[in-house]
Symmetry: C2
Subunit: 276 residues, 2 copies
């Protein structure tokens, strides 16, 4: 059995904690990208998880396997996106794993029930709070109320087919940021304000403007990130930091970005996670 | 401005009336297909709607234009699906029209708000009750609670990329069926039972089995439809009537169907309506 989940990059967010992982999550806004996670699961004599062909602990996918598999399985996930840099790779792997296991063991779960297991896996491991529900929707996704797929509330901002350019310098630990109360207070204040403003005028341009403002407000951006954003904006493009990575995404800014590293490109994925 | 909406074929349904069109709708289950409606809108000196290049009354799209346009527009919709035969063409045209107008007039509506106008247009014109919310989701969509996008509740049944074959003999008037209290009583009884049973085991095979049973229960199928379904099932395929058309859809039944007319094929659309 084989499943696909898109990447997800967040422009701004506010974390919403809850003792129940299904009710924990975030509000915010981000884009899914067609840099996918492809996951294959098959019956095996013992459970093993391979990420890009390397045997891995993969605690997020492991959480999903522990809950959904009825006998040992071999999980092989191929990740097309940069790792640890805000592309929601852990969520995409776990989400594809959940879809594939639902099918392999004929569990008869609906899409939201399937995805909710991957959401819980992210929350418990502190690797993400809103990637899975967005990856299970597809497009430019606004997270209106926190929670797992089927519990949280999302909507989409209408957009045409859209190319996103990005540069990545390195990872930022989502777990460290989420565990720092002072940082999270700043983030939540700025994130809640951005969501509120976005809903007054939910368009792509407003998403980019508010993301860029959020980046400047929360103080997590490296000088390299701030310089790259400024360089894109100086040429009339739009850019912001990928939350949470030492990375920048842009619309119409490939040339300016190229001064800051190797530019990757992807289309916004209109497709949500599903069997493949 | 340009927008896309997929076709939608319903396997079974129960109509849920309400004085408020946003709360009226249906429960049931169906598939979106990549036979799309492509809609282009542009400023014009007077409002005109063209369906497949013919100037048309197009009351469903007209309803959307009346509510969303701020000045006269020319609407050109190109429909890839059979018309009047249960493919949700009117909903797809109205939905694409709503997305394109939202963009042309920079209305700043979210996807659900945009699609809700097309849903109301269908309800008021009695051309459909559940196509728009499914077309705004994409995939094998279960309609759990009736209502417009953002108000009704839907989920998806996980499926891999899937080819659907179909034959069409002619149209059935959705308006006539929805206006016949005796027919609707039978339909709703069978439809509610099918949704309930599907949720106990939401899989593609159950969807096809329950659709076929629903077809036999509600008494709208022509002998031609019943023969075609039986022919497919005799060869090990799955088939059912397209609600509401004198038409049959099938998985793995192209050869058997070919005895009953010209076989068309389409992939299930994982993509929902959006700008294009």
């Amino acid at each position: 059995m084989r499943a696909f989940a898109p990447s997800h990059i967040t422009g701004f967010f506010a974390a919403m904690r809850h003792d129940d992982p299904l009710k924990a999550g975030s509000i915010g806004c981000g884009l899914t990208l067609d840099l996918g996670a492809e996951t294959i699961v098959e019956f095996a004599s013992k459970t093993e998880i391979f990420l890009n062909e390397l045997l891995s602990e993969a605690p997020v996918s492991r959480y999903v396997v522990d809950r959904l598999s009825r006998s040992p399985v071999r999980v092989k996930t191929s990740l097309d996106m940069p790792l640890g840099s805000g592309f929601g790779a852990s969520g995409a792997g776990a989400l594809g794993c959940a879809y594939a296991l639902n099918s392999l063991f004929d569990l008869g779960l609906l899409a939201n029930q399937t995805a909710a297991v991957a959401h819980s896996a992210e929350v418990v491991n502190r690797t993400g709070l809103g990637d899975v529900i967005a990856q299970n929707t597809g497009g430019l996704v606004v997270r209106l109320e926190p929670g797992a797929p089927g519990i949280g509330k999302v909507d989409r901002i209408p957009i045409p087919p859209l190319k996103i350019d990005y540069v990545v310098q390195g990872p930022i630990s989502t777990r460290e940021v989420l565990s720092d109360p002072a940082a999270m207070k700043e983030i939540n204040k700025a994130g809640e304000a951005a969501v509120k403003e976005l809903l007054a005028r939910p368009t792509l341009n407003e998403f980019m403007r508010l993301s860029s403002r959020f980046t400047r407000q929360i103080g997590l951006a490296s000088p390299w990130v701030l310089d790259a954003i400024e360089a894109v904006e100086a040429t009339g493009g739009m850019a912001s930091m990928i939350m949470l990575g030492d990375a920048v995404f842009s619309i119409g800014g490939a040339e300016a970005l190229s001064e800051y590293g190797k530019v990757g490109s992807a289309m916004v994925s209109q497709r949500s996670a599903n069997l493949d």
